[in-house]
Subunit: 422 residues, 2 copies
């Protein structure tokens, strides 16, 4: 039986092992890390049946517990999905290795040469919900960026995670790396999460991946720094100088391409000067796509079929086919509304007026601001950064998509020939 | 009378005011910020007598309370020191403005143009001990980097801080800026610090400046992210291929130039291969400069006059004229000792062997690693970064000297022409 005491000890041991692994991993060649990823991909393919059978057990238990459909879909693996997971390890291996990059280099008048060199963060704790693919993705991103990982997945996917994790560990061992580079917490006891969040000195950063309540809990409880994104209350603002065709296409895509992702638009702001000319066509396109609309009084004066929005609608992340629509007083009104109600994630302006666009891009304080492009581009892959571990809405360390580079720190190397400070 | 309740309200109000000021400040021109700094410098000179009289009162109270000499010296102002403070504001105005810098820019195959643009962090809370010059320096660095500041100085310097802060506020007002850009907490009640550390949503980052106990307390209690440096247990390693003259000069400088700064060396490691040939001359130079030496058994076998070091000496930041000396087994032994006992701040190798130097620079996991140069170069000014607010020993966000650039975040501006995500 696991007692609290045993879990504390176990997590301390995992923390120490991760730190020891990280110290070596910081100086491992890119080739060796890539070899481990390639070997892990092969292991995943070779152990496909074992993984699918573990996943079938997870699925059966989840179904017995009446778990909702969307969650079941995220939990479910099939041959194609296992192949996708293996391929994504290979894709991460293909990305350039950030470690050792000289970010900047300069000489001082006294002859000292200073370089700023990219190094790993150290040990990353990743807490995620029941998506087995995250086990592989997160472990691989940490390894490639020279960090040791301690993974803690959702309990519904425990057996799937374990099967995938075994393949990662085999990959490490086959490449001659320390298996502790990627550890998976073996118990589903919640006390283990509490211990992980308190491993100051062993764990350098915690990355929670999942819904708002998970992230909030981690942020509230963690004594280790947390890199996370909270809400994605993303806005599309249709300016008076907007091209109507672009406004329709971008709004529809920003809201409806995928409604459940953090870059999906939740509020449409329209300059009241073009409410009459632009709203109807945009609203028709959204309705035809099955989107529920909730508007303020001015919006409803144009289209009474639109439901009345309440104050809460301006700060709700629906993650669903619902859009709040508000009439605003020009770009300044849009900027004000976003400052008051937004979540500093991703916001977009649609306008043909370059000056208005630049004002919006400067004054909206969000991780990502776009001109005439869909908010659904808020994604590390779409930015050309390769895989991402999430989107950070904080301003410390990394902001926006968190790829390999954002999982690193740096150090200063100073080369002299006997300089002493006067 | 201030009640707890009043302080909570007051700090909430200060947080809101700072946030509002920061929203404007993020888009203020460099010229206007510089005008405020220049005006504040003039105010400091014009109000010199007022500042000195406030400081005289602080000094009298501190002396009555038997405050130690070193602290009194840090607290004390005179005409020259006030002039230095004014000049340092002008020097900060001269630094390049980091805000708006395009850090990177690239095009995507779909035609999107992405730029990563430097923006302020927002609101910075600075908690410091009784050094009145920090009021001006910290306020100015925050302003120049586009951040609003909430300052909380040590109680011994309360009147001096207030007098200096008034000059900063006058400078802001004369330049047409919001006086809330730089606020000073008006009470010395400790509850105000607790409230400041809990202002999540208003304060973006806390920077503690002072001794270990202050920083520890802030790190333990803060719910806002903290950027801080803890210990500076800095090492000088004298390799078997060290040039003896360099070894003497650098060790002496690293330890004795100023013993009270975080970049001062605390431990000397010597390759046992050159203990006999190199130790005596280095030890003599240190002793002649008034440094107490504590060595391990091998060191004492060469020089029995050296005191015996205890285990605790390897992890003590003396900040005084004391040096621990240990014999190690080559560069690998030095790296191991530093990994086990160091504080990831600043470490130096003295060697004429380039390969050995590169091994040390790669494998020692510290913010600053030096080859043949004194650890006392661990300073933003010496790095050419202009003024610094401290040295960060954490790996998140900034590592090493924290200058203007390290007080910023970034955002992504994406320019399109109607792109929607497939």
């Amino acid at each position: 039986m696991k007692t609290e005491h045993n879990i504390t000890e176990m997590m301390q041991k995992m923390g120490k092992a991760a730190q020891a692994a990280a110290q070596n991993l910081a100086n491992i060649s890119g080739a060796q890390k890539n070899a481990a990823l390639a070997a892990a991909a092969r292991q995943l393919r070779d152990n496909k049946d074992k993984i699918l059978s573990a996943n079938a057990q997870d699925m059966a238990q989840a179904q017995a517990r009446d778990i909702a459909g969307a969650m079941l879909d995220r939990l479910m693996l099939n041959e194609q999905r296992v192949e996708d997971i293996a391929a994504s390890l290979e894709a991460i291996a293909e990305l350039p290795d950030p470690i050792g990059d000289v970010i900047a280099q300069w000489d001082r008048p006294n002859g000292l040469n200073i370089s700023r060199v990219r190094v790993p963060l150290g040990v990353i704790g990743i807490i995620y919900e029941s998506r087995p693919n995250v086990t592989a993705d997160a472990g691989a991103l940490c390894l490639k960026s020279g960090n040791a990982a301690i993974l803690r997945g959702g309990s519904e996917s425990a057996l799937s995670n374990r099967a995938i994790h075994e393949c990662l560990v085999q990959g490490l061992v086959l490449a001659g790396l320390n298996p502790d580079c990627i550890q998976l917490i073996p118990t589903q006891d919640r006390a283990a999460v509490g211990e992980l969040l308190g491993l100051v000195g062993y764990v350098d950063i915690i990355v929670p991946r999942g819904g708002k309540s998970l992230i909030k809990r981690v942020q509230d409880d963690s004594r280790v720094p947390v890199m996370a994104h909270l809400d994605g209350i993303c806005h599309v603002y249709v300016d008076k100088d907007a091209d109507l065709e672009k406004a329709i296409a971008i709004t529809l895509n920003a809201k409806m391409r995928r409604t459940g992702i953090c870059g999906a638009a939740e509020t449409l702001l329209i300059d009241h000067a073009v409410l009459g000319s632009h709203l109807p066509a945009i609203a028709d396109a959204l309705k035809a796509a099955g989107c529920e609309l909730r508007g303020d009084a001015a919006v409803r004066a144009i289209d009474p079929a639109i439901l009345l929005a309440s104050e809460a609608d301006w700060t709700t992340e629906y993650l669903d086919a619902i859009l709040a629509i508000k009439s605003v007083d020009g770009v300044s009104g849009a900027i004000q509304h976003i400052a008051a109600h937004g979540s500093h994630h991703t916001d977009c302006i649609i306008t043909e007026n370059a000056q208005t666009a630049e004002k919006f891009l400067s004054l909206v304080d969000s991780a990502i601001v776009l001109h005439n492009a869909s908010t659904q581009y808020a994604d590390g892959g779409e930015f050309g950064m390769g895989a991402e571990i999430g989107i950070s809405t904080g301003k410390m360390h990394a902001r926006g998509p968190v790829g390999l580079e954002q999982l690193t720190s740096y150090k200063y190397q100073v080369r002299g020939n006997g300089q002493i400070r006067p």
